[in-house]
């Protein structure tokens, strides 16, 4: 009996610890570094932010590690990319989190794609014969600064809802970020302007928002279909097409093998450029604005080199 009472007391203590009001800061967990960076911009010192997937890792294939369960279990707010990007790994994390707040539909669950502009929403019959198609459109939407602004706004609204006392603070942080981003956008537009309409090739369909925003024309992909590794016949066709159209630049994500792109680059006398698809995708891409600074400058430098060839 005494053992039983002790056990009850211990459990009560555990419950009390769990129920203790958390520190003032809102604990935010974002599935990617991009969303984490935007949450930091808006949340400032009123939030603590953890990003799960690293910027140099394929966001489709992330292990649902128990260390992530720990992070999600403590979160007040979980921000996800959505559009099925995290379909292979997020559900087990949420289910095992024992955290009612961040369950889908809960007050602490935020799908960042709710108000953004989504490209490549497929129409008609879909089958997996098309490769890894995303039925809800291309999930790499954060690579358009206009979408970044919308995501920041969505996060700001949600943070204001979770922490009403700090609403004015979040509004102000958002306004500052908006201004900073607008200034950066005109900088990027000026840098990219002269290269508008240049044709390029990318490895995966990670860049439609980025390329559309800055006016680059993607004429083909190293992957024959999304998520399907390169094949010889497709590579030969792609080389022929690149030669025909005079395409010299192949953009590759840091998590893909560059062997095939390098071989293509050699054949067409062009260059392979590893761009950062996410914050942290390169050393220089330390936050959302730095990500575009890095990518824009890298693309322009590469285009200058290849066009000189």
């Amino acid at each position: 009996m005494r053992v039983f009472i002790r056990l009850m007391l211990f459990t009560a203590a555990l419950v009390a610890m769990a129920a203790r009001p958390s520190a003032a800061a809102v604990r935010v967990v974002a599935t990617t570094e991009d969303l984490a960076s935007l949450a930091r911009e808006v949340g400032g010192d009123k939030v603590t932010v953890v990003g799960l997937a690293k910027g140099y890792q394929d966001p489709h294939f992330v292990d649902p590690k128990p260390s992530f369960i720990l992070e999600v279990s403590r979160a007040d707010l979980l921000i996800v990319v959505g559009r099925e990007l995290e379909i292979g790994w997020l559900t087990p994390l949420i289910t095992s989190s024992r955290n009612a707040k961040i369950q889908p539909g809960g007050n602490g669950y935020l799908d960042a794609s709710a108000n953004v502009r989504i490209l490549e929403i497929p129409t008609g019959q879909l089958t997996r014969a098309m490769g890894d198609v995303h039925p809800q459109g291309n999930p790499h939407y954060w690579l358009d600064p206009a979408n970044g602004r919308r995501i920041a706004q969505t996060i700001k609204d949600k943070l204001g809802q979770l922490s009403p006392a700090d609403r004015a603070y979040f509004d102000q942080r958002y306004a500052e970020f908006d201004k900073k981003l607008a200034a950066a956008e005109s900088r990027w537009d000026a840098t990219m302007g002269p290269f508008k309409g240049t044709k390029i090739v990318t490895y995966h369909r990670s860049w439609p928002n980025f390329m559309e925003r800055f006016g680059l024309d993607v004429i083909g992909y190293v992957e024959p279909k999304p998520g399907i590794p390169p094949t010889t016949s497709h590579t030969i066709d792609l080389i022929a097409e690149m030669k025909k159209q005079g395409v010299k630049l192949i953009v590759v994500e840091p998590y893909f093998d560059s062997k095939t792109p390098l071989a293509i680059g050699k054949q067409v006398g062009g260059e392979v450029l590893v761009l950062a698809p996410s914050v942290g995708g390169s050393k220089e891409a330390t936050d959302y604005i730095a990500l575009f600074d890095y990518d824009v400058n890298a693309v322009v430098a590469a285009l200058k080199r290849t066009m000189g060839k």
Binding site: M17, W89, R98
Partner: protein, 416 residues
Amino acid sequence: MKPFRLAQACLASVCLLAIPATSVAQTADQALRQEIDQLKADLETLRKQYEDRLSALEVRLAEAKEPPASAVPAPAPDTSAPATALQTSAAAAGSSKVFNPDISVLGNFAGAAGKNPFSEEPSLSLTEVETAFQAVVDPYARGDFFLSAGPEGLEVEEGYVTFTALPAGVLLKAGKMREQFGKVNAMHTHILPWVDRPLVSRNLFGGDEGVADAGLSVSKLIPNGFMFVDAIGEVYRGDSDVFRGSSRSDLHYLGRIRGYRDLTEGTNLDIGGSYASGPSATVPDFNTERIGMDVTFRYRPLRRAIYRQFIGRTEIMWSRQKLAAGSQENASGFYASGDYQFARRWFVGARGDRSGRALDSDLHDSGAAIHLTFRPSEFSLVRGQYRRTNYADGTDANEFLFQINFAIGAHGAHPF
């Protein structure tokens, strides 16, 4: 009496419907014609309006296609954003199908060649068709069903509800579940890195399928600054090849503690200890116990996560089977395995096996296996495995096993 009344009621309602229809038919005829004429006129005006709007739109489109005066395109209009949101909600409102569970069907086609007097694996067989239905139940729970159809018929492999919103960080599962004893038992057949299950699980824990039973599972994260610790307690009815309860009070219990820690961003260590106790299925009226230890080491460099991966696993199991008052048979076994991904779609692996038999600890079976796996995509795999087994009676079996695994339907979570 009841059917007669029903017939009467039906007749009456048919008459009621028919009478006004015939009597009003003639006046209605005229009214209908007028209405049709009116509708025709309305349609015509609508058509004109649409044509006008369309041509106006075409003009605007043509204008838009011409190169803009400024080199900088205006950022995408915000109006497009609500459009996508509207699309989704319109689709959601249009059909209750959106609440259908995620459905996927997995087929496991397997074959075996070579002589083995102890193996019942047929030359060719569709060993399993697993249908999964998974969805959120309500704000408090999610439901998962796995129906498995094999040569023995259709059975519920698992079917449970998980309460995700309980206080104090408790996770409760109720239903029929694979018991969380060690690593391999919790894995569905198609998740296994091999064609077969290791000798130790076949001899000591549930045969070819593993142990699944009806019960409750409670787990709680134990907070500490050092590592992830999950404590699991389960209670089952006892209806399997290992545990079988003969009365309502004959339950079987299981406890598991799992610790996990990231060593670096690309490596981690997963360790666990399990204990299960309950009425024996093989020696009625006596208790049986199982103790297990498992260690998993994973290496997956994040930048090359889709090309390189290594998983090393080992599980040790002890069995304590009471045979009669004061007499007990102790047996043990283990497996150790390594699986290495050496290209985007290629995996190779090896496993060493040794296990006693629960009822006769003097008998030991041992074996080894190597496999080569090709995964054309996330949704299919082809695996060949060479297996050598040395049975306790001196029989040696050399076999070649293969399997083709394919999945259709909803994209499930990747195994970890």
